[in-house]
C-alpha cells in the first residue's frame, strides 16, 4: 500500500511538467477547435477522451470538411498507430503482478510524453506511477483546450512559445542519460535524429506524415539494432534506472 502511494506521488511530480507542456499545446488546439466550429465543451470532451495532439488536429480538419465517420476512424488509426508500438514496449515493462484491470487503465494514458517518462522509470512500471502522471497531465490537456476555445489571447506569445519546448525537453531528459553508459543507444539516437531530419526535408519522403515517419523509422532502426546488437540478458534492468 505504501509503495502504491509512493509511486502515485512520484507520478504526480513527474506529471506536472507534462501537464504544463500540454497546457501550451492544447491551448493552440483549443484555438484551432474554435475555428473548426466546436464549442468549448465539445473541444474539452475531445481532448479528455483522446489525449493525442496530432490525432486531434487532424480530426478538426476532417470535422470541418464533414468527412465520413469511416474516414475519421482510418485517419486516427494511421496517425495514432505509434501508440501501438509504445503499448507493446510497455506490455513488457509493466509490473507483471498488475492485473488486467490496471492494464486497461494504464492504456488510456499512453501518450508520447507519459510513455517516455514511464520507460525511464526504474525497474518495473507501477500502474500507480502512470495514474499519478495521468492525473497531472490529463487535466492540463483538457483545461488547456477548453481555455483555448474560450479565450485565445489569455497567454502572451512569448510564454506560449517557451512552454512549447517543455515536451521536447522531456524527451531529451529520457534519452540522453542512458547514452553515457551505452554507446549503442547513443549511436541509435544520432542515427534516428539524422534519418528523421532527412525524411522531414528530402523531396518525396517529406510528403509522409510525421506519425507515419515515426512508425517507419522506429521499425527500421529498432529492428536493425535488434538484429545487429541483440541485448544481453538483464541489460534492460541495468538501463532502466537511467
Amino acid at each position: 500500500m505504501e509503495q502504491k502511494g509512493k509511486w502515485f506521488v512520484r507520478g504526480i511530480k513527474d506529471g506536472v511538467p507534462i501537464g504544463l507542456g500540454y497546457l501550451a499545446v492544447s491551448f493552440t488546439l483549443g484555438i484551432a477547435s474554435r475555428k473548426a466550429g466546436l464549442t468549448s465543451i465539445q473541444a474539452a470532451l475531445m481532448s479528455l477522451t483522446n489525449l493525442t495532439s496530432a490525432g486531434e488536429f487532424a480530426a478538426l480538419s476532417l470535422i470541418t470538411s464533414q468527412a465520413a465517420y469511416a474516414e475519421m476512424a482510418f485517419t486516427q488509426l494511421i496517425i495514432n498507430l505509434r501508440y501501438c508500438l509504445m503499448s507493446c514496449a510497455l506490455s513488457q515493462k509493466i509490473d507483471p503482478r498488475a492485473g488486467i484491470g490496471h492494464r486497461f487503465l494504464v492504456a488510456f494514458g499512453v501518450t508520447d510524453e507519459i510513455f517516455g517518462v514511464s520507460v525511464a522509470s526504474s525497474g518495473r512500471l507501477s500502474p500507480f506511477y502512470s495514474y499519478g502522471m495521468m492525473s497531472a497531465a490529463i487535466p492540463g490537456w483538457t483545461i488547456g483546450t477548453y481555455v483555448g476555445v474560450v479565450s485565445g489571447e489569455i497567454l502572451p506569445d512569448r510564454v506560449l512559445s517557451a512552454m512549447s519546448v517543455a515536451l521536447y525537453a522531456m524527451f531529451i531528459a529520457v534519452i540522453i542519460p542512458p547514452c553515457k553508459e551505452n554507446r549503442i543507444i547513443a549511436g541509435i539516437i544520432v542515427t534516428a535524429m539524422a534519418a528523421s531530419t532527412a525524411m522531414a526535408y528530402l523531396p518525396w519522403v517529406r510528403e509522409i506524415s510525421s506519425g507515419m515517419r515515426i512508425i517507419i523509422l522506429t521499425i527500421l532502426i529498432a529492428g536493425a539494432a535488434a538484429i545487429l546488437f541483440p541485448i544481453k540478458e538483464g541489460e534492460e534492468e541495468e538501463n532502466d534506472g537511467a
Binding site: L62, G116, A169, A192
Partner: protein
C-alpha cells in the same frame, strides 16, 4: 446529412483507445524471443529521438531559441538533472533568448 460532432469524437476515442489498449492487454506474458525483446528495448529511444528532432526546431517562435533550448536540455540531461529541472531549464532558455531576439 449533417455529421454529428459527438459521434466524430466517439469514433476517434474508440479507435485511439483500441490502439493503446490491445497490445497492453493481449501481450501479458514476458516475451522470450531475443530479437523481439531487443527490438522492444530499442523502440523508445528511436521513437523519442525521431519525435524530438527536427520537430523541436519549429516548436517555438524562432529556430534559434529552439536550438538553444535543445542545447540547454541536452546539457542539463547530461549533467543528470531531474525531468522537471530539464523541462523548466529549457523553457527558461527559450524565453530569455526570445526576449532578446524579438526585442
Amino acid at each position: 446529412m449533417e455529421h454529428n460532432i459527438y459521434i466524430y469524437i466517439l469514433v476517434m476515442a474508440l479507435v485511439t483507445y483500441g490502439i493503446r489498449m490491445l497490445p497492453l492487454t493481449l501481450i501479458r506474458k514476458q516475451i522470450r524471443h531475443k530479437t523481439i525483446r531487443s527490438f522492444l528495448f530499442y523502440v523508445p529511444y528511436v521513437t523519442l529521438a525521431v519525435m524530438t528532432f527536427p520537430a523541436i526546431l519549429t516548436a517555438t517562435d524562432s529556430v534559434w531559441s529552439a536550438a538553444l533550448g535543445l542545447l540547454a536540455a541536452i546539457f542539463l540531461a547530461y549533467r543528470g538533472k531531474s525531468l522537471f529541472q530539464i523541462a523548466c531549464g529549457a523553457c527558461a532558455v527559450v524565453w530569455i533568448s526570445e526576449v532578446i531576439i524579438f526585442m
